[in-house]
């Protein structure tokens, strides 16, 4: 017990240094949004951009920047932030670096429900709503089954999630095999993750801010929880309610991210990892940093997706993986 307290103490000693990385990440976020707004298939020079921002400039440029690029960049930022935060929360919850909304089958449930809605020919709003329901259903199944007759461990939860994810994957393949030809392209692009269809940025952004406000006061509790359920219980943390709340919050974040931009993998797994390798294990720093870094990654990835081989548009999921895998491997190699 005293050992755990010392750890908390050591973590607290670093409190003053927590602000600096966050300031850096905030600056980088603004830079990423700036880049996303300035780059596109139509070239807008910096001086034209300034003119637009000061309320003048060509009508075409104003439309491009305010109607197309800015909403999409903000949606990308918000989606990336939600996915990274969801991943960070799950990794605390399961005390396992493999945890991620996608590994645990949440996005699989969302994808199956969304594909069913597409096959039924429902509109965009209903596709989003059913994706949301699918993610929550998957959460309940995974958590309920892992809970079972009482004894659940993070390993058991993880295993249940992985098995569910595999099951959802099989259903997705089945749905793709039986669905009408003309619907396949839309379904595939949705499965690959795509921000071209993101309609509004504010739901993801508001949820990102809200969930940070919820999670930040819990930072110390999460730090303790990350060290193990027993230690946390010994330190007076109500382990079970906190774990339920974490899982539900992570599902909500995933569901909203998936309904906004389809199924984008890798951000939730990779971003919290990279940050822990770079910044250490203090959740009070890792959680807000994940939020910002996830947003930065997805904003830049989406900018590349729509400009790399323009006018051909790529699904953003391809870019997050292509950017993320080498960066992650490099970081892992250097941290040995």
């Amino acid at each position: 017990m005293s050992g755990a307290e010392t750890t908390t103490h050591v973590i607290q000693a670093g409190a003053g240094h927590r602000l600096r990385p966050l300031l850096w990440l905030s600056a980088l976020s603004l830079l990423a949004l700036g880049v996303a707004v300035s780059i596109g298939s139509v070239t807008v020079t910096p001086s034209e951009l300034l003119a637009v921002l000061s309320g003048e400039g060509e009508r075409l440029h104003r439309t491009l920047i305010f109607e197309l690029r800015l909403p999409r960049a903000l949606a990308a930022f918000g989606t990336g932030a939600l996915l990274a935060l969801a991943g960070a929360l799950m990794q605390v919850l399961l005390r396992n670096p493999l945890a991620d909304p996608f590994v645990l089958g949440l996005s699989g449930g969302a994808a199956v429900a969304a594909l069913l809605a597409m096959i039924a020919g429902l509109g965009a709003a209903l596709i989003s709503a059913s994706a949301f329901a699918g993610a929550l259903l998957s959460t309940l199944i995974v958590f309920g089954l892992a809970h079972g007759t009482g004894s659940w461990t993070p390993v058991r939860l993880l295993l249940t999630g992985v098995v569910m994810a595999t099951g959802w994957g099989a259903i997705i393949t089945f749905l793709l095999a039986i669905s009408p030809m003309e619907q396949l392209p839309g379904m595939l692009y949705w499965l690959m993750g795509d921000l071209a269809y993101a309609q509004r940025a504010w739901p993801v952004l508001c949820l990102a801010v809200l969930s940070l406000l919820v999670v930040m006061p819990l930072g110390r509790t999460l730090n303790v929880l990350a060290r193990g359920g027993l230690a946390a219980a010994a330190l007076g943390v109500a382990v079970r309610p906190v774990e339920w709340a974490l899982y539900l919050l992570a599902s909500l974040l995933t569901a909203v991210a998936v309904t906004t931009a389809g199924s984008i993998g890798f951000v939730g797994l990779m971003v919290p990892h990279m940050l822990r390798l770079a910044l250490g294990n203090d959740q009070r720093l890792v959680l807000p940093a994940s939020l910002l870094a996830g947003g930065i990654l997805l904003t830049l990835a989406d900018t590349l997706a729509r400009t790399l081989i323009a006018p051909q548009q790529l699904p953003v999921g391809v870019i997050t993986a292509m950017l993320g895998v080498p960066g992650f491997l490099l970081l892992l190699y250097r941290s040995r």
């Binding site: 439309t63 009408p180 003309e182 392209p185």
Partner: protein
């Protein structure tokens, strides 16, 4: 925390409703604006598209972007090819269409590229273009005509409507007239021809064909033939080889650029018990002629009819 999440969940749902409402409202107001300009003397004209939306222009369209290869062909067919300023990938007919600036693929358009060409009319493909992207164009105030041409009568009336939108009415009416007469002539010539059963192979792996609702089946019907899987539910059914062997079609037709493009035939030559193989009734037609809903479909149908005539002689 649970309360926060419930709150977040509850504003998410109204937000969806709000989005839907905003889309409806903007569509309604766009409609209102069009009706309004309709009453003004400057209005050039309105046509109703295949989704029964009124498309109104204040002048003949001068800068058209077509979001599918067949719509590009239809614009050229009314003599308005020079008004095209943009097209999607695979817009390769007529040859000069290949040089048009590209605005992405039909299933993923680059909205920025479309805007930068400042179109005064966008021709969208229902069922091919993502609806959200088309809605975005409408919301940005661009006149959008949505086409869902799937049979000869609609292709002909599309020609007439494109003629009105571009001011090429005479040319368009001639083209539509020729199409209707051509179809009527084929229908008459083959009305008493013995019916053949045909397996039209759209794709090899997986095996794909068309059901009775597809225009290819309608073309086959004009030639006095019946598509093997006409009763299937899906527009593009995926039967197994067994299904085809059991149904034993009189004729098998595959897509190919010329008569030597018979790679898909080897699949069937393994089964000499098939009537089509026994009588050497495996044919190739140019898929661009029959798989695109354009006036060239008449040419493709003529080719189909000829092949089927050959097949009747060999039977």
């Amino acid at each position: 925390m649970a309360a926060d999440m419930a709150q977040a969940a509850s504003w998410r749902l109204p937000s969806l409703a709000l989005v839907a409402w905003a889309a409806l409202a903007s569509a309604a107001s766009a409609g209102a604006a069009e009706t309004h300009s309709d009453s003004q003397a400057t209005t050039f004209g309105c046509v109703s598209d295949d989704l029964a939306q009124e498309v109104c222009l204040s002048a003949p369209a001068q800068r058209i972007i077509a979001l599918s290869p067949n719509l590009v062909e239809l614009v050229y067919a009314v003599g308005a090819g020079s008004t095209l300023v943009g097209a999607v990938s695979y817009s390769d007919y007529p040859a000069e269409a290949s040089a048009l600036p590209r605005v992405g693929d039909s299933d993923r358009m680059d909205i920025e590229a479309i805007l930068s060409l400042s179109p005064d009319l966008v021709l969208a493909w229902h069922g091919g273009n993502p609806r959200m992207q088309v809605d975005k164009l409408v919301a940005l105030g661009i006149p959008v005509y949505t086409s869902d041409a799937q049979d000869f009568p609609t292709i002909a009336s599309t020609l007439e409507r494109f003629g009105q939108l571009t001011g090429h009415t005479t040319h368009a009416e001639t083209a539509a007239q020729q199409l209707r007469e051509g179809v009527a002539e084929l229908e008459q010539r083959y009305q008493d021809a013995p019916t053949l059963s045909v397996f039209y192979q759209v794709w090899d792996k997986p095996l794909m064909t068309v059901n009775g609702e597809h225009w290819i089946s309608q073309s086959l019907a004009i030639c006095g033939a019946e598509s093997l899987f006409a009763d299937a539910d899906a527009l593009v059914p995926r039967p197994s080889i067994e299904n085809v062997l059991a149904a034993d079609p009189d004729v098998i037709i595959t897509g190919g650029k010329d008569a030597s493009d018979t790679a898909w035939h080897s699949n069937w030559l393994r089964f000499p018990q098939l009537s089509a193989v026994r009588h050497d009734n495996l044919f190739v037609v140019d898929p661009d002629l029959v798989q695109r809903a354009t006036p060239r479909l008449l040419e493709g149908t003529r080719e189909l009819c000829q092949r089927l005539d050959d097949a009747r002689e060999r039977r």
